[in-house]
Symmetry: C2
Subunit: 434 residues, 2 copies
């Protein structure tokens, strides 16, 4: 059966513009996108007549690539929106670490993760790259919940052996063994769309030998890597001080710590934030094709500063977009996109950075983030409706008082700026409705 | 019948802190707040027993003052979230003016305003200060829709006699006559909670004699005034050029134009934005107790800059908060509050302004905005639950995976940062559920 989706198809094969097809037809080949046509030709009409092709009619609805969230902390769903008046260290101690400790109890995870996964699903983030906690049993609950909802994610068992609470502090060996255990669990698990990602919390939380051990695991098991990088200047100074024996005149940067330990680009790597990348960071991130997950809502809430998005894009860095809950206060990637646009506009006004285009930010959330999944699965094409791409899609309809008065692009803008969960009518991942 | 509301009562009689009463009792006297008590005393229990008092049990729900929106454009609901990638002038010409012209047709208003008013209601903004269009018939539709939903607003017939489209350009006499007509309509209308406000769009849209005529009407009819002030530097330069014959060494500012024409403080006055108030503006605004409606979402979308909120607060200016749709992209005042907090944090990080407190922003949206209504109706107290205040309230409940784990303040934070319309369970205006 050939499926043909009719509607207002919008995607961004390139950053510089939206490709828009008003009430045209997206023809699938199995679960992959094949072509977009303005009219059904006689061959397709014949197949429809014979019942061998089916037109899914979403006239006047948007058909857009589903959203991807490149950085978020699942346990922090509990604290989302809470305590953001606190300075970072107080926020971590009063909320984040206390809550993460509770995930030692698998029953706590069973209470929390269904709601988290439902919210992720409701907001249309069908793929994501997630920090769990240090606890494998609870991380497994997260995997099971993602499977139940049909979502696809990379899930990381978090590693820390210092500068956190006693309850969250592992030894190097514990941390490495449990990381291997979680990779084994996911490698062996049948019928799952989730996969493992090596997840040192950030350089300060890990001793050099823990980082080094994690780099070895990532390389040996060919597992991708996620962590944090250059979120604040204070953190950068701290890293340079903590690892001063490893840094030298040539290796001067925060990134070097990850790079020396095999955690930067040996396997596909995503680093959250990068608000203050130095020249050396930029060089290493480019050379090693590291993805930077821009998390504007988080940066705003934690007063981290404004990432120079257009500058990084023009330097050719691989940028993606993340909600970073609980420092970010919403899983809604449409709202995160708006926040990215607002922050880039603010840099334009305050510092003269070039203006952002909306298509660039949409690209980041779809094809940009998708390219990280492609790096892990080179056989897949993810985040657009180009020929051969996975049909990952949202069917969207925004109510408007004067129906029919908005162009497809205006409908998309309305959805990005004003969309609620209820605006998303259907969700498809790899061709299947979920 | 005495009504007693039980729940987690939070309000801000002063800016500096939240007053929080966890599952206590707010006792009404008619439609006014009387007192908050931790326990029902024997007298109240007896009244309950006799059926002369009724406890409305919202245990574990928040009871907070309903939101007030101090600046928004009703017709722009049509364009909310749309075209915000455009520079201001293009945005005005391609969207705002074209759409406002359509309100010459009262049937267009009948299509649009019910949806707008429903959204305002859904998000809990039970009072607001609204720009309509130049068209009295359509403005009357707006009034009727507000009445139907039980909301209370000040509604302005917009005045313009230059620098807009031909369709929206009135002569001075037309503009003044229609303004009087709209005031008459609202003065004579029975059973309405809406009232008129004199509404020159902004100084550049009005010749000096139109402004002067509007100032006279406002004074003679004792009607409040709303307009725009110092939103961008370019606009300020334009005003100073347009009115250079009226300005001099003493009267140097944008504010002077309004002040000279009786539009600044003769009657209660609210000015939107004030991003770039100069010393002279600040002096005039303070001397004339002008409210500045801070509209952070709008400022961000239009790249207007970041208003120095804490600086203005510390200077003793009267500040309120507005959604400013359609330059703002949401009517949700909880989201506007978050935007105000984020912008103030950004100024803290970038320019060293002092940090904002969440209670200050909550105060702005409730008691701060309410004080403008009080200025128009000195017999009323609006925006808190202090003794004698109107019981304007929202009953709010946020779902949370671990119910009972959040303190009342944390529940409020969760609602501000993550709340959806569905979080608001009940709405009360002047004591009555609407």
């Amino acid at each position: 059966m050939i499926r043909i989706f009719k509607g207002c198809i919008i995607h961004t094969p390139t950053k510089d513009k939206f490709e828009i097809y008003e009430n045209e037809y997206l023809v699938l080949d199995g679960n992959l996108c094949d072509r977009i046509v303005s009219q059904l030709d006689q061959d397709l009409l014949d197949l429809v007549d014979k019942g061998e092709a089916l037109v899914m009619d979403y006239t006047d609805h948007l058909i857009i690539p589903s959203f991807i969230d490149l950085h978020l902390h699942a346990p922090q769903y509990i604290q989302m929106g809470v305590g953001l008046h606190l300075p970072l260290i107080d926020w971590l101690n009063q909320y984040t670490f206390k809550i993460e400790e509770r995930f030692a109890d698998v029953n706590y995870a069973k209470k929390c993760y269904p709601a988290f996964v439902k919210d992720l699903y409701d907001w249309g983030s069908l793929r994501s790259v997630i920090f769990g906690t240090i606890h494998n049993e609870s991380n497994q609950v997260l995997v099971e919940e993602l499977d139940k909802k049909g979502l696809s994610a990379m899930v990381g068992k978090v590693n820390m052996n210092r500068f956190t609470t006693i309850g969250l502090t592992e030894t190097v060996n514990q941390s490495l063994d449990k990381t291997k255990g979680f990779i084994d669990y996911l490698t062996e698990k049948q019928d799952t769309k989730q996969e493992a990602i090596v997840t040192p919390r950030f350089a300060p939380s890990c001793s050099y030998d823990l980082l080094d051990g994690l780099g070895q695991i990532a390389g040996e098991r060919a597992v991708p890597v996620q962590s944090h990088l250059c979120e604040t200047r204070r953190e950068m100074d701290w890293v340079k001080d903590l690892f001063k024996d490893r840094l030298n005149e040539e290796k001067t940067s925060y990134s070097d710590v990850y790079h020396m330990t095999g955690l930067m680009g040996n396997t596909p790597t995503v680093m959250a934030h990068g608000v203050y990348l130095e020249d050396r960071d930029i060089k290493l991130c480019k050379e090693n094709q590291v993805w930077i997950a821009h998390c504007p809502t988080s940066n705003n809430n934690l007063s981290s500063g404004i990432m120079p998005l257009t500058k990084y894009l023009d330097l050719g860095l691989s940028i993606g977009l993340g909600s970073d809950i609980g420092a970010g206060h919403t899983l809604a990637m449409n709202q995160v996109m708006v926040s990215a646009i607002e922050n880039a506009k603010m840099r334009h006004t305050l510092f003269g950075d070039r203006m952002i285009m909306e298509s660039e930010v949409f690209y980041l959330c779809t094809k940009g983030n998708g390219s990280f999944f492609e790096a892990v699965h080179p056989e897949k094409s993810i985040g657009s409706f180009e020929k051969g791409a996975m049909f990952d899609a949202l069917i969207v309809h925004e109510e408007h008082p004067v129906s029919g008065s908005l162009t497809p692009l205006e409908q998309l803008q309305r959805f990005l700026y004003c969309g609620e969960k209820q605006s998303i009518k259907k969700r498809f991942l790899e061709g299947l409705e979920i």
